[in-house]
């Protein structure tokens, strides 16, 4: 199956919702730091989970431009 930004965004949202502390109403446009109240460590730990689900490595420097779930999905697609 070819992954798209939309399908990867959906996987990210599903993974995030496994954490009961994450707001239920998140969308691809939700900001990871501001809307999810993740600190830098929580972001890195969460990205590690996504990496393993999608079998991709996201170098940490790529995360500096990532604000939203959609941005993260876009970064992952560009690496695959």
């Amino acid at each position: 199956m070819t992954e798209t930004i939309e399908s990867v965004s959906q996987i990210i949202i599903e993974t995030l919702l496994e954490n009961p502390k994450v707001p239920r109403n998140i969308t691809p446009e939700s900001k990871i730091i501001e809307d999810l109240e993740f600190d830098s460590l929580a972001v890195m730990n969460f990205v590690m989970e996504i990496e393993d689900k999608l079998d991709v490595s996201v170098p940490l420097d790529r995360l500096t431009d990532v604000r939203t779930i959609h941005d993260l999905a876009e970064a992952i697609i560009s690496l695959k």
């Binding site: 600190d39 830098s40 460590l41 929580a42 890195m44 730990n45 590690m48 990496e51 079998d55 991709v56 490595s57 170098p59 940490l60 420097d61």
Partner: protein, 400 residues
């Protein structure tokens, strides 16, 4: 909105902490040192279990005399960088002593341990290289990785299989690979399964750097760290460490057999663009290294103390980290409980460290005790009793 607006969340978090904490856990002041294990805090003699003075050498007579003599002979500062006027024969002698101690070809001495890891990580990994960092590596390693411009990939803590998976994921992408790990991790005091990491390094043709900050002077027959203990020193490309723990002073080093090490003196910015260590610190460090060489019983005393403390905590029902090392942490539930516990321990006469997320793994607050060879058995037992009393007083549930 001003330049400080972005610190508002930090301000709020600190205010929240101070609203429930009588003393500032990040502002403890030691008013006087009585001995390596006793200091005066808030006007009271207090047991010191929150220093990294693992062998008690910050107070060694040999180091004090050496420092005083060096200050009289050379003055109290070099006022310059190692590559300008800041290299005295003392600096070169210490580098030779350390290289010899580690059986390595060369050694670079830095002004702090932070700068040693910052400098080595940021310089060795270039723009097209890949850095593989343990998830729980120290801030200096992560800061160095950001300076490096390399691609940074984080692997699960102490998990060599996870590292292997991430290295293999890269496939045939060009670029050198540098794996960075620590001998003992500073928050839980847990120890790396180093042989497993050496296997991965060999399979994947990567370089391996180990930070032995919390294991130098503590593990291995001669105190050279976890690599010595696990008999894999020949497979380590770069060993970095600090003078500010077992050696009792301040500074950092990197030892290596790589013949090009001297080139790094000309391109490692945290080595080049800062003043070198003052003569008295170098002389004190040299003196304390001699003590470590000649007194292996210090290591045994430290490990006996650590083992006694660890097992007493476990028997009392505290949740601890997985390994016995010079750092022994108790894992607590939440910030209010951890803060109350830390304050109560201080009131009962012992200083330990309160470590809070995001600096701690798994988002859990830790009470972190540093165990030293200089602690007496009675002081260890006293701390255990203080922990048990504090747990009762603040309602920490113990698993008996």
């Amino acid at each position: 909105m001003d330049i400080f607006t972005k610190f508002q969340p930090l301000h709020n978090a600190f205010e929240q902490l101070m609203s429930i904490s009588k003393h500032n856990p990040f502002g403890t002041t030691i008013e006087k040192m009585i001995s390596p294990t006793i200091g005066v805090i808030n006007g009271r003699q207090t047991l010191l279990f929150g220093t990294n003075n693992y062998l008690g050498l910050s107070q060694s007579d040999a180091a004090r005399h050496a420092a005083a003599e060096a200050a009289m002979q050379y003055g109290v500062g070099t006022t310059g960088s190692r590559i300008a006027n800041g290299t005295y024969s003392l600096h070169q002698e210490l580098e030779q002593d350390l290289a010899k101690f580690f059986n390595r070809r060369s050694c670079m001495v830095f002004s702090t341990g932070y700068q040693a890891t910052l400098g080595m990580v940021s310089t060795l990994a270039g723009k097209d290289d890949y850095l593989f960092l343990d998830a729980d590596c120290h801030a200096s390693i992560y800061d160095g990785s950001r300076m490096s411009q390399a691609q940074i990939i984080r692997f699960r803590h102490n998990d060599a299989d996870d590292l292997r998976k991430r290295l293999r994921r890269l496939g045939d992408i060009p670029g050198n690979k540098l794996i960075v790990v620590e001998g003992v991790y500073s928050m839980f005091g847990d120890i790396i399964p180093l042989k497993e990491f050496v296997e991965v390094k060999k399979e994947e043709n990567a370089c391996l750097m180990i930070d032995e900050a919390h294991s130098f002077g503590i593990f291995g027959e001669h105190g050279r760290g976890i690599a010595e203990r696990d008999q894999v020193e020949a497979d380590i490309d770069f060993t970095v460490g600090t003078f500010s723990k077992s050696l009792g002073t301040v500074g950092g080093y990197c030892v290596s057999d790589h013949p090009q090490m001297d080139l790094l003196r000309l391109c490692t910015r945290p080595y080049m663009f800062t003043a070198s260590l003052p003569p008295e610190v170098i002389a004190a460090t040299k003196a304390n290294l001699e003590i470590i060489k000649n007194h292996p019983e210090l290591i045994h005393k430290l490990m006996d103390n650590a083992s006694r403390f660890y097992h007493a905590l476990q028997n009392a029902g505290f949740l601890t980290g997985p390994d016995i090392s010079s750092v022994i942490s108790v894992i607590l539930e939440d910030l209010p409980q951890a803060s109350q516990f830390w304050n109560r321990v201080l009131e009962l006469g012992a200083y330990i460290n309160l470590s809070l997320p995001p600096a701690t793994p798994d988002n859990r607050p830790l009470l972190r005790a540093s165990i030293a060879a200089a602690h007496t058995t009675e002081q260890i037992d006293q701390l255990v009793q203080i922990y048990i009393q504090a747990a009762q007083d603040v309602g920490v549930a113990l698993k008996i």
